[in-house]
Symmetry: D3
Amino acid sequence: MRPSNRASNEMRAVSFERHVNKHAEGSCLVKFGDTHVLCTASLEERVPNWMRNSGKGWVTAEYGMLPRSTGERMRREAASGKQGGRTMEIQRLIGRSLRAVVDLKALGEMQITIDCDVIQADGGTRTASITGAWVALYDCLGFMETRQMVLRNKVLKDHVAAISCGIYQGTPVLDLDYAEDSNAETDANFVMTGKGGIVEIQGTAEGDPFSEEQFSTLMSLAKGGIHDLIELQKKVIAA
Amino acid sequence: MRPSNRASNEMRAVSFERHVNKHAEGSCLVKFGDTHVLCTASLEERVPNWMRNSGKGWVTAEYGMLPRSTGERMRREAASGKQGGRTMEIQRLIGRSLRAVVDLKALGEMQITIDCDVIQADGGTRTASITGAWVALYDCLGFMETRQMVLRNKVLKDHVAAISCGIYQGTPVLDLDYAEDSNAETDANFVMTGKGGIVEIQGTAEGDPFSEEQFSTLMSLAKGGIHDLIELQKKVIAA
Amino acid sequence: MRPSNRASNEMRAVSFERHVNKHAEGSCLVKFGDTHVLCTASLEERVPNWMRNSGKGWVTAEYGMLPRSTGERMRREAASGKQGGRTMEIQRLIGRSLRAVVDLKALGEMQITIDCDVIQADGGTRTASITGAWVALYDCLGFMETRQMVLRNKVLKDHVAAISCGIYQGTPVLDLDYAEDSNAETDANFVMTGKGGIVEIQGTAEGDPFSEEQFSTLMSLAKGGIHDLIELQKKVIAA
Amino acid sequence: MRPSNRASNEMRAVSFERHVNKHAEGSCLVKFGDTHVLCTASLEERVPNWMRNSGKGWVTAEYGMLPRSTGERMRREAASGKQGGRTMEIQRLIGRSLRAVVDLKALGEMQITIDCDVIQADGGTRTASITGAWVALYDCLGFMETRQMVLRNKVLKDHVAAISCGIYQGTPVLDLDYAEDSNAETDANFVMTGKGGIVEIQGTAEGDPFSEEQFSTLMSLAKGGIHDLIELQKKVIAA
Amino acid sequence: MRPSNRASNEMRAVSFERHVNKHAEGSCLVKFGDTHVLCTASLEERVPNWMRNSGKGWVTAEYGMLPRSTGERMRREAASGKQGGRTMEIQRLIGRSLRAVVDLKALGEMQITIDCDVIQADGGTRTASITGAWVALYDCLGFMETRQMVLRNKVLKDHVAAISCGIYQGTPVLDLDYAEDSNAETDANFVMTGKGGIVEIQGTAEGDPFSEEQFSTLMSLAKGGIHDLIELQKKVIAA
Amino acid sequence: MRPSNRASNEMRAVSFERHVNKHAEGSCLVKFGDTHVLCTASLEERVPNWMRNSGKGWVTAEYGMLPRSTGERMRREAASGKQGGRTMEIQRLIGRSLRAVVDLKALGEMQITIDCDVIQADGGTRTASITGAWVALYDCLGFMETRQMVLRNKVLKDHVAAISCGIYQGTPVLDLDYAEDSNAETDANFVMTGKGGIVEIQGTAEGDPFSEEQFSTLMSLAKGGIHDLIELQKKVIAA
């Protein structure tokens, strides 16, 4: 029995709210249950120095948690003077995941920065971030297309979404919330595209090592979850 | 004529949404027009080292802006490795303003940290922060009263709220939005209590110096605005 | 009765010593009683990046306290790796105050940095800094005029000076020293020009809120004090 | 054809040199071909603050690269003032991998820090680090057993080793060197125990997404490689 | 011919002004010509953590330059977020030099911090700092003796002073000013005690290497200079 | 009697191993007994900004210690966020020492960075670093000569080597190891060239001041030691 009474292959209620920020070229408030992440896409007409004159653009991400997004207040990273290892790990993952479905050449020498700020956390903030970031990126590219800067379909090759799975009290479950995540024996994150390709897999044994069979089960759960997430993305961008 | 077509003594639509964060002991999403600030109050049962064994508690504040809360994306302070001067100035102001209406002795050796995070900015983020922070603090003290930790009425001596005024194209106006703020000749922030006492005054000539008469007019506007803000606070906590 | 036996509207002995630094284009050691601040003006023939090609110059300030300028030794900010919030607040204030009387266009694309370093502190370091900085700036512009770089009268539109006032044991007093400042109920800083225009007002209730009437009294005290300070500035530059 | 002419399932020459540091309680210079990592285990009889009085110990890791371990000199992290995201990601991975085979309770309130410093890099530094770190940890626990501080067999529950795999020019290959790593379409790291349990899986599409089948092939390669690495570990500790 | 027309063994005019800071337990403004350093001694009744319960005290120093103490304005170290290598080198040298004449046991578990802040620089700031710091330390110990905390004669075993020498246009000269220092072929600093013992020697070839004979000449010059400095110290503390 | 039973003028076994790094343009693992330092020379075809268009090149050094190079594990400087004062002092010394024998003009606008990383420390790391760095630099210039970038003999004017001496239990001894260094009354480092010129002298009284005679003895010891080191350098580059 999961703390939330969900079935083992049941995701939390997922929603996307677009256009939540009047300044950003694209924005999306994504909710995976009580995990709420505000994703904004910011367009700049310049690329990092190391990419200059490459003819290619760049998509990158930053991630942050509001100090009281969590059960206990965390120290503000701006106050402690640096981003922690977990923050950097996550923002690198979000950036890689998005770039896997972007044609940087078709983007041209421009940079899109996706900020994923966790307003409230209840497990799965990185997977919600990736999934919502795609929507913000989609809208940013729409903004650009309207201004004849790019063709969105050329730049954005596919959907991308992410979900966590884990083994909780011996049972493989989909989309861990905090109560599960903090007690799971194994924790895995999957990032996949609309065509079913795998972009990123991360599996970690929190307690005892896991077996290949267990991992296979987690991947099956993830495939189902990501399929549903991408259907939701399609619905929300069609709205 | 103001860019927003408001009358010179007309505030933007102001709203408070309480209980917006499932973790915080008190929380409030305050909106002054398109300026949206999320205020959370976090209770810790310990005080800063320099206050230990003083028998008194502490109320402090931190302030931050999401990178794309503004028209152009700002660099994330956590990434740049420090909080800027403006951030520190504002969070010190919020803390002082709240402490002006708190009896730290009645609070006892506990610390309440109010985080004011700007989700979207359109001028007046510091005044919205103070005004919303009071609501979050009120709810945090209610949480504590329920647990017999304090008597809220003993700790919280009065309301406190803040508003900006300025001279825009020669006319004194109330509650500047960004379009006005960035062009005002004079910019002033007022923090006052429910009983009409002044907690903080900050007036700055952005262009030419201003006169004592002009400043008087701004203060009159501010008194009216703060009176209304406090009425709104009363209504929202009565809800 | 004030700890220093001064009358309520009596400033401390104020003096300015010019040309105290052989390297700086302008310099002034200003004393407000036991508060001693060394102000140096440094000319650079370039402006910050964000001002390039604007045709305008920039005047900025930095502020620091020697570790033992205070009663208890403070940690050196260079050693702690950052400037504190109070430092940044003060140096921003000094810069704004000076720019209020400078025509940046007439200055041309050059930058003047005023360093205000507190050699010994006894309250009122920010007001002494502003008042002395003006003298250093005056001499720097004189240095430039001699070299046909600017016309001093075109660049420097007016005098500027600053003074603190406060309510100490119920009585409004002018120019607080440390003994008063650390016990004042209300503390206010005023920055005004030679023509009587107000550049900056900052009033803070340290204990109970103050009334508009009290604030008016403080402003009257300040006007008198600043008038005297500007007379002293005139005398010293005429010397 | 691989640049090194290895077969697709062929690892580079792997060697372990123990007792390479006269100060450390355990040490090992591990080589995966031209990738050379110096691993030292340092024992401290105290744990991090957050673990005090838990009755449990802690095993952690730090990772660094000498500035010229790489083809182009990298900036020294000590000089740039912070550890980059990649460094933090890797050291967190090494620490987690080791803790997966350690009984922290049996260790008691002591901390072992494994420093993995890359002397020369040619791809696969994180997998070499984990594999060599296990040997350093083994020797550190031997040092402790000799002094009756622990029973090594109780603390160290199993071997752990790691290997990278990837898809290089369409072919799944084992143990990528730099020439392959920088051009691989897919890059995956596997951490497994002596009993065949999986501790960590990380797979990343550098170019196009990969399929579940491809990932299965990589895992098979990894299982073979890790089996061989653990046989080598057994041989070297028996020596 | 030296730029200052001094004889090769002629120091600049040296002066010490005591009691220049109303807060510090000891203070001295030392001038070596146009090099002016403010030295303050601050007493704390606690020692660094690593010395606790050792029964011994500690004497340490910090060094800083005001931004415009130099010909071109330097960046403020507090603003750049760290002390540079030169600063650290010098403050370590000052501390070592003072400790060479202090009996830390006789001091007891107290710490004296000498801050040496360069108000104006014209070469030789480190030697002026050491020489003036000794006077500030002397007065701090006098302050303590008055309060029966220590016996000054037991704590302070001897005088200590420092001077620079160098080879300027082929000629060994004493007490280099900036014009010489920046062009010297060899630059050396000597720290010696009242009894003629050597505490520290630092000699550096700025251009071609120097010979043992040249170094001997520099040391002779230094001995003469330090003898004179110590006579001056004796005179000033007798005043 | 020295802890190592060496005669007072006897160095530890010294060895140089060249070409120890496949990436660096020059490299050398230098051992002074149990002190092992890896020196790599990295060539960049650009100079620091302040040297641009000077027609001259630059040789600089960086120094680091692996965390467990020492008896007790030291905190990693990259983790603590800055290089300590000792590190900066040493790397500045290494750079100055090398530049004393380099003709920067003959090098042309190129920069060579020598990284000296202490793999294992047992006293004398700075002198071993300088001595080994010369070999790495020699090989880097050889690499450049092969590519017709410079004439090695024009750039490298002489050998340079360094040794420590000290007074240990009253006796002047050569090449202190850690056991001696941590207990020496006086500690001195000498850097000299092949022609016998002195590049740098640093002598420090750790306990009582030392006399000119004692210092002379140390210098004699150093001259002998450096002569031998340079013979060894000659042998190793001839190999």
